[in-house]
């Protein structure tokens, strides 16, 4: 991609050949605008905006779905409690997006398409955008039915579908494996969860920091930028990790602090 791009732009591009906005850009804008308006017109002629029964606060539909662009967040509710899925993680997504220009100090790949020159930035963003955002929306729109259960698009929505609730918390899972009575010692499990999350947030970043000590990229980033990047990255990866934990081991919470919060 980058090579093709470079070839198309002449060597004299330091002093690039300029063109007149009128007619060159205005023409492109006009055509694009006309086509988009035409598309919108056809869409509006062929498909009516939905209008269901009048609002009825006593009749909750099942499922109640948020607007499609929030279904990624609604999907996160399966794996995290509302304070995480609905408040903390969305805030971190917004803040994290805003921080991107300040933590990505790679000067290459500005102003043209390239994967090779910015592999890490590209992979992380594309994973977050295409999988954790677009794909989860897709899942929410087409594959979630009553009770937020999983249905194939061609499957009939059966509101009485019974799904076994076999989820257990990680502390109980571990306690069971070790043969400890978790219910009588909640603080053991809680301590275990805290240590686990603390380790997740410190060991992974520290490991790569030490491993990358010789890498100029990490040197150049500096400690603060590195830590912010690592924090955001590790937080983002918590979602797929919890998804996998849920699907494979039926783990619900990793950390339970009774009466305060669960993660």
């Amino acid at each position: 991609m980058a090579e093709k791009e470079e070839k198309m732009i002449p060597a004299s591009s330091l002093n690039p050949d300029k063109i007149h906005t009128w007619p060159h850009l205005v023409r492109v804008e006009f055509i694009a605008g006309m086509l988009a308006t035409l598309g919108l017109f056809l869409w509006s002629l062929l498909l009516d905006a939905p209008l269901e029964e009048p609002a009825n606060p006593t009749k909750t539909p099942n499922p109640s779905k948020a607007p499609w662009y929030f279904l990624g967040l609604q999907e996160m509710l399966v794996y995290f409690d509302p304070w995480m899925a609905g408040v903390v993680l969305p805030s971190l997504i917004i803040v994290g997006l805003m921080l991107i220009p300040y933590i990505d100090i790679n000067k290459k790949g500005a102003g043209y398409y390239t994967f090779r020159e910015r592999k890490f930035a590209m992979s992380v963003f594309c994973f977050g955008f295409l999988i954790l955002w677009i794909f989860l929306i897709f899942l929410g729109v087409f594959f979630r039915g009553p009770g937020w259960n999983f249905f194939m698009p061609w499957e009939e929505w059966n509101p009485h579908k019974v799904v076994a609730l076999t989820n257990i918390d990680l502390n109980i899972f571990v306690a069971q494996t070790l043969g400890i009575d978790a219910l009588r010692n909640p603080w053991v499990g809680c301590g275990f969860g805290l240590v686990l999350i603390g380790a997740y947030y410190s060991i992974i970043p520290a490991f790569y920091y030490l491993k990358g000590k010789t890498m100029p990229v990490i040197q150049e980033l500096g400690l603060i930028r590195y830590n912010i990047t690592a924090f955001l990255f590790v937080t983002m990866m918590a979602l797929p990790i919890k998804m996998i934990l849920r699907w494979t081991l039926n783990i619900k919470y990793v950390l339970v602090i009774p009466g305060i919060l669960n993660i």
Binding site: I9, E52, N56, P67, D81, W83, P101, A110, Y112, L261
Partner: protein, 267 residues
């Protein structure tokens, strides 16, 4: 009159019009395709002078920008026009809102079309703004000197979601109130400030605040449930407050595109 005479006649009329006092008071330059006129075409037109009069060649490539930013703006304009038309027929009162939608659909000429265009353009704008962000990332266009414009962009992304979300409630049908109920319910779990959030109990004991009636969620819904007060609140946010904020942010965004050196490109 033969064809040659006709042509001459037309040219004569054209000359009279273009040379007239009134015409010259409106158009300050000729239309002949010379570099000076091409520049003036952008520079002396209040709308087109959003653009520079000359730009780098690759900046107009659709394969580079996908036109996504510009089309997002176009959809915002379409939404403004169709939205104002809908406002003529719509009352944000629980008793009337739904009936007004029905009236609009069945009795207002082109009412259904206006509603459809408003609805689908709103979805379109959300799709386009996400595509625009994706393209800006792929081309690394947030890199210096455009860091801050990316930040403005993220705010615009959030504002676009909020615009769409507040509008979702206004038809006052089942889809509307339940989607908004699901959305706003999350706010009750806000740490410290939502009545079911972590540590809210402790805050309540300390301050007496943070009850179901007064917490982060009721700030949005103007009550403990999505009801008539929510409708009014969302209406004002949707039709006045958020569009104004969006417009201000877009002004800054476009200004910065220019000030940061126009559309990005390889050095």
């Amino acid at each position: 009159m033969n064809i040659v005479e006709l042509k001459a006649k037309i040219q004569e009329i054209q000359k009279t019009v273009v040379d007239s006092y009134v015409w010259k008071s409106i158009f300050r330059h000729g239309y002949k395709d010379i570099p000076r006129n091409r520049v003036l075409m952008t520079a002396s037109n209040v709308f087109l002078h959003l653009h520079p009069s000359k730009m780098r060649r690759h900046g107009i490539k659709v394969s580079y920008t996908w036109c996504a930013g510009g089309l997002t703006f176009l959809f915002f304009l379409i939404l403004t026009v169709t939205g104002v038309i809908l406002m003529f027929y719509y009352r944000p009162v629980a008793e009337y809102a739904y009936v007004d939608m029905k009236y609009l659909q069945f009795d207002v000429p082109f009412g259904m079309m206006m509603r459809n265009m408003h609805r689908w353009a709103a979805h379109g704008m959300v799709i386009l703004v996400m595509l625009h962000m994706f393209r800006v990332f792929l081309t690394g266009s947030y890199k210096p000197p455009r860091e801050f414009n990316w930040v403005i962009g993220v705010l615009l992304l959030v504002i676009t979601f909020l615009l769409s979300f507040t509008g979702y409630l206004l038809p006052w049908d089942q889809l509307a109130i339940w989607a908004v109920t699901v959305g706003t319910n999350m706010a009750r779990a806000t740490p410290l400030m939502g009545h079911e959030g972590p540590l809210a109990e402790q805050v309540r004991q300390l301050t007496g605040l943070i009850t179901p009636r007064y917490d982060a969620r009721s700030l949005l819904t103007a009550g403990t449930v999505v009801g008539a007060p929510t409708l009014m609140r969302f209406y004002v946010l949707h039709c006045i407050f958020i569009p104004i904020v969006a417009s201000i942010l877009m002004i800054v965004h476009f200004w910065r595109v220019r000030k940061d050196g126009g559309i990005s490109g390889p050095l």
